[in-house]
Symmetry: C2
Subunit: 388 residues, 2 copies
């Protein structure tokens, strides 16, 4: 397999983009990545599109051909495909695009993620989100994603003494970071008190523990490492791409406080990269719910099991802490347009490793990691990146 | 890139499978392929699942993890992903699985396609099918897939003198073939008269020109060619895998009687395989509507443009004709569970090249081809296979 690098990145602002269709935002992110990569659109040989639920959200499937079409590439008739793994669709699209370049099948590939969530009513969203869980075992009994993560939170508190304040420190940090990201949905800091007193969604999680409903798109351009320098002054090497699955339903797992798909995917990624968690300087992880970030930083090996909460409260995951986690603002503050999220994570890591993190730049970041998750961890996708 | 072979195939009966969930049929096809490949399920390193619209049909996305889970593979935490390209989802899943093995990322990979279409009312189906077309330009004005293919048919009649009987000869042939396929949805021959007098769907196409609504699943096991003989006495080599796109909306194309994604994908596939259309002995093509088969056999190069209709009526695409087309019964008689179709095509070709086509066996078949299409040709995926 050939080495693969990111040679260009682009994204849209995340938020309630009433004035833009999924076509608009997909194109906007794609064009911005093409321009960043210093390529012509005609050089793109294949498209990999991460999207979770456009069929349910806007009655439109076939987003591979759609993005090719609306990007003006239809005359080139390039292969294009949509990749879906619930909330991990973007990360999985990156992985499939990576494999396509690594294999030698294609040289220059665009991976884009896009989702338009605000075209349906808020009442429809929980069912669409639960399509990433197990409808037959969980959805049917009225479980929502928030309720499942709430159970994980309660059990984590019970087993490890994690406090409500520990958990609430995740959104406080992520809003602080999002305030420094001009493309974040929420660019405003919040206090611990705001989180603790926010309206309850599923005990113990309040509104401020839950990532918002978002529209948005992000894109990266991949190329074989040996030609990457031809296009980009700062190509970012993808040193590992790993994915793993677990049971869809939480109830079928051995533990509520551990996500095995994260453990397996990250273990495999570290092995391929030849490094361990201690080498990671900056990480984007899947804080769809605040507790998810705590479990993630434990199962990624950044902190011992049970210590993720205190570590966050003590500032160890702040920018330039032990490891800088969710410098973009994470899903909570940057926003979570489901299929776009995994690609947006790669965009943020590439910016950090290029030293283009602006006000949120991590000092001397060499290794980055992204963890994109589907459902309660039915799928996890981990990528490790290195500055060259 | 490494050479890749199919070492096992499996499928379910296609039809109205009221008594089975998508989990059941996915497992049934998968287990049958595993058994055919003489492997243990634990040897599977990754899953690629072709599915078009489970989000809309059964409110369930995340089918990669779901199939892994319900196949009892969750304890192995293998990577699993759903691939979607509308009606070409199965063929595209085969292509992504092929790339994963060719790259060296994985050795033994299962590609499965599954769709459960009968859990919604018949009234909901046209909208879900149109999610493979262009909702913004076509669906919004009330176009259905049938109406779009009807326009292609009318224009083909106008430009090339194709007759209603030419078009109707497609379902007549495919029902004849389906009658010899024990897993086909319709195992009954029909007459030309049945087609011509069938209730009108969209002029000139009647009910018997349209593939049915189906449940079903199919699976293939892929392995590097150099170890394929270890498992299978008759591995089938995939000699080319190509995909191409076109505009989603018919109205944006230069011609209504040509599908450029088929032309580009097949041209690229022939080039990789080092053969031309004349070498193909057996082909499964995408007869979602009868006219689609006629356009396909022209754009694949089997017959000159405008000659596909007469060729079919004259029996040139019957079993042991010039090229044996849709020996399985095609989408019309075998059934069309959308995401399963492309994988079922590969299953049929593998059976033919192994000489396991039973009553519908093509004499001495060496080269096979499958063409799986999404929408009106927004995506086409072509694979070429060779007997070893």
């Amino acid at each position: 397999m050939r080495d693969v690098a990111i040679i260009g990145v682009g994204d849209t602002k995340f938020g309630e983009l009433w004035e833009h269709s999924i076509r608009d935002i997909g194109m906007q992110a794609g064009l911005s990545a093409v321009s960043d990569a210093n390529i012509a659109g005609e050089q793109i040989e294949a498209l990999y599109i991460g999207n979770m639920a456009a069929g349910s959200l806007i009655e439109q499937e076939h987003l591979g051909a759609l993005v090719s079409d609306y990007s003006g590439l239809s005359a080139l008739h390039i292969p294009a495909v949509r990749i879906e793994a619930a909330g991990a669709s973007g990360g999985m699209a990156l992985r499939e695009g990576y494999i396509a370049v690594a294999s030698g099948m294609h040289d220059i590939v665009m991976v884009a993620g896009a989702e338009k969530m605000t075209d349906v009513t808020d009442e429809e969203i929980p069912t669409i989100q639960m399509a990433g869980g197990d409808q037959q075992w969980e959805g049917i009994s009225g479980s929502t994603m928030a309720s499942l993560f709430a159970m994980m939170a309660r059990r984590h508190m019970h087993e490890y003494g994690t406090t409500r304040e520990n958990i609430a420190s995740v959104p406080v940090k992520n809003h602080k970071n999002g305030a420094m990201n001009p493309n974040a949905q929420y660019q405003k800091g919040i206090t611990m008190d705001t989180v603790l007193k926010s309206p309850m969604v599923a005990d113990p999680l309040g509104v401020f523990d839950c990532a918002p409903i978002s529209d948005g798109a992000a894109a990266v351009i991949l190329a074989p490492l040996d030609i990457a320098k031809k296009y980009s002054e700062q190509p970012i090497k993808i040193v590992a791409s790993a994915a793993a699955t677990d049971t869809l339903a939480l109830q079928h797992r051995e533990s509520l406080t551990r996500i095995d798909s994260i453990k397996v995917a990250s273990r495999n990624a570290y092995k391929t990269a030849g490094i361990g968690p201690k080498e990671i300087d900056v990480a984007e992880v899947h804080d769809s719910y605040s507790i998810a970030e705590i479990i993630s930083i434990e199962d990624l090996g950044f902190f011992e099991k049970g210590k993720g909460g205190p570590a966050t409260l003590e500032g160890m995951t702040e920018i330039n802490g032990v490891v800088s986690v969710n410098t973009s603002g994470g899903l909570k503050a940057r926003g979570d347009p489901m299929g776009a999220t995994g690609v947006a994570q790669a965009v943020e890591i590439a910016r950090q490793l290029r030293g283009k993190g602006e006000k949120r730049q991590v000092n001397n970041a060499e290794y980055g990691l992204s963890l994109n998750m589907g459902g309660t961890g039915g799928t996890s996708v981990v990528h490790i990146y290195r500055r060259l």
